[in-house]
Amino acid sequence: MLAQIKGHIEQIKGAGATYVDARWYPYEQQNYLLMWNGNLKQNTSSRESGLGIRVLYKGAWGFSASSDLNNMGVLFDKALDNARLAAERVTLPVRLAEKGALQAKFASPCDTDPFSVPLAEKVAFLREMDEKLNQEGVFQRLSDLFFIRKQIVFADSEGSEIEKLITEVFASMQVTGLDSQGETHRREYRLARHGASTRGWEALDRQRFSENADRIVKEMNQVLVADACPKEDRSVILLPGIMYLQTHETIGHALELDRILGYELAYAGGSFVTLEDFGSLRYGSAKLTARADGTLPNTPGSFGYDDDGVACQNTVLIDKGILVGAITGRQMVEEANTRAKRTIFDGSGGCNRATSFYRVPIERMTNINIDPGEDGNLEDIVRNTEKGIILDGDRSWSIGSNREQFHFGTEIGWLVEDGQIAQVVKNPTYRGDTLKFWNSLSAVGDGSTWEVAYVDNCGKGQPNQVMQLGHGVPVCRFDNVRIGE
């Protein structure tokens, strides 16, 4: 098959294309199980295979994809035809940053393939968690498992051949309860990376799930009888269960280079960041160092090589508060440097990914991480907070179209008064302006507070693509933040 694909790549190159690549998925399997109040509401599996072809012709992209590989030549021709039409409306011809011709393989660390685990064992895991969650005060209980395994073979007209085998495991459990006014409140626990781990079935630690089942039920019951979150300005202390999303929405998406360059303006939105800002914009306080790290072995944001055929990298985005980098692929770095009339980016950051064979690669987050700081553990940060609130759990999130402002609702809040945790509050929310917020970062937890949260449903692009990625984040405190609105 690969020889056939390479033959067609050469043929299309001969027809005038400047660049051609193909991503062949021999298979992609998914398996999703959802138990809701003891009912196995979802028990679905899927399997797909196919080929996606990208052609660059006179500075314009064409793409074509199909699961039917009987007429592969037609598929390549369609991609070229689509590029020919696109070439009728070019403003800045697409150029790709240099890269070497790679022959490489990557497999995500996995001891036990989740697709080799009998269904009955998976159901037993869910039933066990469901029984743990079935406690007093719980109105609805959900637990789910999501497995992905895919093989991707990449070849391009520059001589690269890369084979990847990616295995992912996602799991979560959630409880909801009703307070005395009949309002719903929830608490959730999701599989996250703690220390060394892998991405196979073995990542599901029964003991950890069991302990967290008890914790989320207890905390939800505290919320059910809690007072409402006050509406005032306080320091907010974000635990990783909401800190990951703050990072995702107001650093990750804001620093996708295609968004900065206006490629998402008709849909997901733009970014307040401009090309002039790189190297000078004070994005956050000096305590903030953020990076796009595609080299952590055990998270979905690490995939060996991106869909441009560039190796994953560890790129600093914000260095002690100053904006220095972005989430990049081969096309956008060239365009950014050209438009800025200076070299901002020295080659691709290896972040171009497609969600499936039938979607085109675009800039996606890898693991957008915040470096641990030197402000101690959670207890230390609380002890040094006069008037604050600890927040955890993502209940709602809404971000301005240029990522310039945001509103988050969390599952639980603990008011902090004079260095002590005072009481639990319900319906906590906070809002802010992105730059003002990150510049108010006043404490960053140490390595003991750092964990990698997984995201399995990040949406972007048209046609839309859902992507999996990670965020390694510590506990952080921000000052003078409006809560309770």
């Binding site: 196995l40 009949g182 206006g262």
Partner: protein, 461 residues
């Protein structure tokens, strides 16, 4: 093609029966074309032809599904899929309720919504549409973005209960044209939705964009003070809120699970303004309707709110099975929601701007990144985007920076509703997550709601 699809499904049905498997088969075929524009160029021109087969196996109270992307030549692969689903169901856990396998008592074929001219519109014509919609409006700083998404969608379903099948085929187009200022970062938008080729109207989009550009090019934007405003929502904003109401409002299963701001006690009571009448109306072709649901129930006009009075919840078959309710013909991938118009003779943006007004009005055409803050109270939050205007009471117009609204749907559609336009328009709400599923909501061109709180106001874009 239809015959081949039906013959394939019938052969698979016979195979399942020969294996003593109880299955429901759902076939989905999409032929999707999308031209995406960015920075005044075509950033992507793509097409995907995908066939998906979903096999749901049943064994008494047990249920399991297997889906594959395939093609009609791979009958053996599809039969293996049936074997896989049957294997899965043997090892799964029974539900606490009896799931219904629908019994199709007759074959139903609906191709009324399919226009081959639209489904097969050429690359050149799509580009020409875009060029017409933006003609003369771009310059070095004002850049064109958007999409022209078109295609056809085929759904077919059969199961082992009977030989009858259901077959639906539609064509659709969703167009978004955005003009944005590269340096100042403002954006204006015009959108279109078509079920047949005659509905494509680039001139209307161009006219709307030109009108907005006049304001945005020459007025310095301003930060609005926080506080209460009388807001006029455009069709995108109203349709988005109706879509959320579909999720956390009148959905019976969501209500039973505690994720609704409506309750069973509210049925028959006044919930919204008497200006609000919301229907599920499958007779409106602009909504890409299903006239039968996926269990074979005939779908007719279904009132949800009549003059503000809540008429009742809708129930899919599975929710009805679980909660011992009566299914209402809502086992569909989308409804045909229609918010009826009112009596305000304000049907275009120009008419809205010219309309005499006693107070300042904030026009919000589009709500970006809506999310649910509190489902039990129906509280949503979102930011304005794409061409908001402050229509001052002295008749002048200014451009505001984006603002955030965090409010209950009960308030937005409650007694604060001042008026609704006479004219209604279809607003295309299709999402391209996973499979093609053309969807549109019909809403009044404008809806004015008084005294809504702006909780956050940007100092820039």
């Amino acid at each position: 093609m239809k015959d081949r699809i039906v013959h394939t499904l019938q052969e698979l049905r016979r195979y399942a029966l020969s294996k003593d498997c109880e299955v429901a088969l759902s076939y989905h075929e999409e032929d999707s074309y999308l031209i995406r524009f960015a920075n005044s160029a075509i950033s992507l021109n793509t097409n995907e032809h995908l066939i998906r087969l979903e096999i749901t196996a049943h064994a008494d109270r047990r249920r399991a599904s297997f889906a594959l992307i395939t093609d009609l030549g791979k009958i053996d692969e599809m039969k293996q899929g049936i074997d896989t689903a049957a294997e899965m169901v043997a090892h799964t856990q029974p539900l606490t309720y009896q799931p219904t396998i629908p019994l199709f008592t007759e074959t139903f074929i609906d191709e009324d919504g399919y226009d081959p001219a639209l489904a097969q519109i050429s690359n050149a014509r799509r580009l020409e549409y875009f060029n017409q919609a933006a003609r003369g409006l771009e310059n070095d700083e004002i850049r064109l973005s958007g999409i022209f998404s078109s295609g056809s969608n085929t759904l077919a379903m059969i199961n082992t209960q009977s030989e009858h099948f259901q077959y639906f085929k539609t064509s659709d187009t969703q167009v978004t044209v955005v003009l944005s200022h590269e340096r100042l970062k403002w954006e204006v938008i015009a959108e279109g939705s078509a079920q047949n080729i005659a509905e494509l109207d680039p001139a209307r989009l161009r006219s709307e964009l030109a009108f907005l550009l006049e304001r945005y090019q020459y007025d310095a934007p301003q930060q609005l003070p926080l506080g209460k405003y009388d807001i006029v929502f455009g069709p995108a904003a109203t349709a988005d809120m109706i879509t959320f109401m579909n999720w956390i409002g009148f959905n019976g299963g969501m209500m039973k699970r505690g994720f609704s701001f409506l309750s069973e006690e509210m049925v028959g009571g006044k919930v919204f303004s008497d200006r609000i009448t919301l229907l599920d109306d499958p007779d409106r072709p602009e909504t890409f309707p299903f006239k039968r649901d996926f269990t074979g129930i005939e779908r007719n006009t279904y009132p949800l709110f009549q003059a503000g009075v809540f008429q009742g919840f809708v129930w899919s078959q599975d929710d009805a099975d679980e909660f011992s309710a009566q299914p209402t013909g809502h086992t569909v991938s989308h409804k045909s929601l229609v918010l009826q118009g009112g009596n305000a003779p304000v049907n275009t943006l120009e008419e809205l701007v010219k309309m005499p007004r006693e107070v300042d009005l904030l026009y919000i055409p589009f709500l970006h990144y809506m999310n649910i803050v509190n489902p039990s109270k129906g509280i949503i939050t979102a930011s304005s985007r794409f061409g908001a205007l402050l229509l001052k009471k002295d008749g002048t117009v200014s451009v505001p920076y984006n603002v955030r609204l965090t409010q209950s749907l009960l308030d937005i559609f409650g007694d604060r509703v001042a008026w609704l336009s006479e004219a209604c328009v279809p607003y295309n709400t299709s999402q391209s997550y996973e499979r093609r599923n053309p969807t549109a909501v019909i809403v009044p061109a404008f809806m004015r709601v008084n005294d809504l709180e702006i909780s956050h106001s940007n100092a820039s874009y």
